[in-house]
């Protein structure tokens, strides 16, 4: 079923809220910086959102305090998102709106901090005795409480496809009649586990990441969050954009290396095309997973070449935001929605020497061309893939 997209917002290193994100894209200004994260000595670049640690969360939610939830709250306050949620809740009831969040590491930064201050007994100290915060469901609980939405609430954590899959789950729940609308979101914040973890896999670049460039040598980790309201079309009569379809698959190949032929990626793309009823040649723009790792970009280009022709413009926006992991799915869904709204197709930032070995060419400069159908790919560890397809409602 086609779902209308109501209010949406994004916060990342490329901008807090949509206006500053759009400005960064138009001016081709990266949000990445040399690693300056407190306590991390890795030689890399990161996508850090300024001032997250100074955000005050609502006092009644102090028991959920973590950097992740501070970022969640910062993001919720942008672009009239809370007002949009409240309006829809007034209209249909807070219990008819689900909350489905995606995250990779939830509030693990808070657990890491607790372990640096263990008591002589070996136990965590009182300040960190926050059972909900050390759970994967920390973002779902926080967003549900912070918005007052009381419909079914779940957090999805499938690594870097997490917040793309929230759209698929919301679509099923609404189509089934469990709820009439859903607030979907994704969030991940910078933490030591991710930075040193990706470093252990030798996937972190010491430079600004260069997606699809022949000199690409790894990823930059970012943080961010995004939210979108999805609802039955009649509930959002002014919506201009819709979720048309989704495709989910698993590589069944390796825990941290994508299938060499992009088998799982192609299955996810095919399932999304089939469900949306949009043929590959009608897709105008694809926002790629495009992490700037050697393997991802080679394999994703190969997967694209199996389905698309060069009239489809494709690009990676990771050099603006960094790889925001569990938030990447929704951040890039929102970048796709913004491109559809403005007609500005973002060209891959920092891809100065496109890799001639890649099987599909990526857009390297911003291009103005209307987008009727936009697609986005998200691929995660465990071989977990999700593809989303959006369309203009008055198409």
């Amino acid at each position: 079923m086609r779902l209308a997209i109501g209010s949406y917002t994004a916060t990342s290193a490329a901008g807090v809220g949509l206006a500053s994100l759009q400005e960064s894209i138009e001016e081709r200004r990266s949000g990445l910086r040399r690693n300056d994260l407190h306590g991390c000595d890795l030689d890399t670049w990161i996508g850090r959102v300024d001032g997250v640690e100074d955000v005050s969360i609502p006092p009644h939610l102090d028991y959920l305090l973590s950097r992740n939830n501070q970022l969640a709250w910062l993001g919720l306050q942008q672009d009239g998102m809370l007002q949009g949620i409240a309006r829809l809740a007034d209209q249909i009831g807070a219990d008819r709106i689900a909350v489905i969040m995606g995250t990779s590491t939830s509030s693990i930064g808070r657990t890491e901090e607790a372990y640096t201050q263990l008591l002589p007994s070996g136990l965590i100290s009182d300040e960190f005795r926050q059972p909900e915060v050390h759970s994967l469901h920390s973002p779902g609980l926080f967003v549900s409480e912070a918005t007052g939405l009381t419909g079914p609430c779940m957090t999805i954590s499938t690594a870097c496809s997490s917040s793309a899959k929230v759209f698929a789950t919301a679509s099923r729940w609404i189509s089934h009649g469990l709820v009439d609308a859903a607030l979907v979101g994704g969030i991940d914040s910078l933490c030591m586990s991710i930075l040193y973890g990706f470093n252990s896999l030798e996937l972190v670049s010491a430079r600004l990441c260069r997606p699809f460039d022949e000199r690409r040598d790894g990823i930059n980790i970012g943080e961010g969050c995004g939210y979108a309201l999805l609802a039955r079309e009649e509930l959002l009569p002014e919506a201009e954009l819709a979720l048309l379809g989704y495709g989910e698959s698993v590589d069944a190949y390796h825990m941290s290396h994508p299938h060499p032929e992009g088998e799982g990626a192609v299955i996810a793309i095919d399932r999304a095309l089939e469900r949306s009823g949009v043929s590959a040649e009608r897709v105008d723009y694809v926002n790629l997973h495009g992490t700037a790792s050697q393997a991802n970009d080679r394999i994703e280009a190969h997967a694209l070449a199996r389905r698309f022709s060069e009239q489809t413009l494709v690009s990676s926006t990771k050099a603006w935001t960094g790889h925001a992991l569990g938030a990447a799915g929704i951040l890039e869904a929102i970048i796709t929605l913004q491109a559809m709204r403005t007609g500005l197709n973002p060209g891959t930032l920092n891809c100065e020497q496109p890799d001639p070995e890649l099987a599909f060419p990526v857009l390297t400069e911003n291009v103005r061309r209307p987008i009727n159908y936009g697609m986005t790919n998200s691929f995660g560890f465990g071989g977990n893939n999700a593809t989303l397809i959006f369309g203009q409602i008055n198409d």
């Binding site: 499938t158 698929a168 789950t169 470093n199």
Partner: protein, 278 residues
């Protein structure tokens, strides 16, 4: 309202390692404490690398598929847990506090919440959708609901696995359990399998309720383990067959599950091992 069939079940903890042993414990037997966890579904080299959380999950998932005699490759999966693999989190946090550059890449990639479904997909060569979710203390019920909706909406069997590992020492004041527990329930669209174990109808209502008391399990204290709350449902499927149960979904909603008896028993004598691809 959501109608689905239950076609397979699996269970593992330190006191019972499969459904037959679970049933015997429910009937007052002693179980089989200490049996090694050695899931045959994953290859020996993968088994060596896999953490306990993965081994528990794939073991119960395999049990449920075998009981249903369904080929795993056509089944979607939903894995659920409140705290994920907190043993790996413990390793990561200790290493980050002492020598962050020595993080093991294998343990890092095993730390994702979807590790179990990743190993499962590799072992069964399944490209079917796989999710990994959390609903904190109510993870079992939100995952059960999500899996049932997916089964109906996508017309595909869905394997729901719920589990918690024992929390690591520093976090023991935070979580009130000490023993791991895992269970799997294989759901199928109504009529997908000719002889379901039970048929269930799910409905959600907007009121908060307390989690029901667990049935007493001799020899092991599973109270407090969020995943073990699923024992209430598992026991009802086995013993009562005709029951109406209610569980919390969140502070604001609850899930009603009404169970109608199916037409086959769960005991191992009554089902065949499903054929496996090489």
């Amino acid at each position: 309202m959501t109608d689905v069939d239950i076609v397979g079940l699996g269970v593992w903890c330190e006191s019972f390692s499969n459904w037959d042993e679970f049933c015997s414990v429910l009937e007052g037997g002693s179980g089989a404490a200490g049996s090694a966890l050695k899931p045959e579904v994953i290859a020996p080299n993968e088994r060596r690398r896999a953490p306990l959380s993965v081994k528990m999950a794939v073991e119960v998932m395999d049990q449920a598929c075998r009981m249903a005699a369904l080929e795993p490759s056509g089944i979607a999966t939903v894995f659920a847990s409140a705290i994920g693999d907190m043993q790996i989190t413990d390793y990561m946090c200790r290493t980050l506090a002492d020598a962050p550059r020595t993080i093991s890449p294998t343990r890092f990639h095993n730390s994702v919440h979807n590790a179990a479904t990743g190993y499962w997909s590799i072992a069964t060569q399944s490209h079917s959708p796989a999710s990994a979710v959390s609903g904190y203390s109510n993870s079992a019920w939100i995952a059960f609901l999500d899996g049932a909706i997916q089964a109906v909406e996508e017309n595909i069997p869905v394997l729901v696995a719920v589990q918690e590992v024992a929390p690591p020492a520093p976090l023991q004041p935070v979580y009130e359990w000490t023993h791991p527990f895992a269970a799997a329930i294989l759901l199928a669209p109504v009529g997908y399998c000719s002889s379901p174990i039970a048929s269930v109808r799910l409905s959600v209502s907007g009121d908060s309720i307390e989690s029901p008391q667990l049935p007493q399990i001799p020899g092991i204290d599973l109270s407090g383990n969020f995943a073990a709350r699923s024992i209430s449902l598992l026991a009802a499927i086995e013993k009562e067959r005709d029951a109406e149960l209610r569980f919390p979904l969140s502070r604001y909603s609850s899930l009603s599950i009404s169970i109608a008896p199916g037409c086959r028993t769960t005991r191992s004598g009554s089902w065949q091992r499903s054929p496996r691809q090489p």
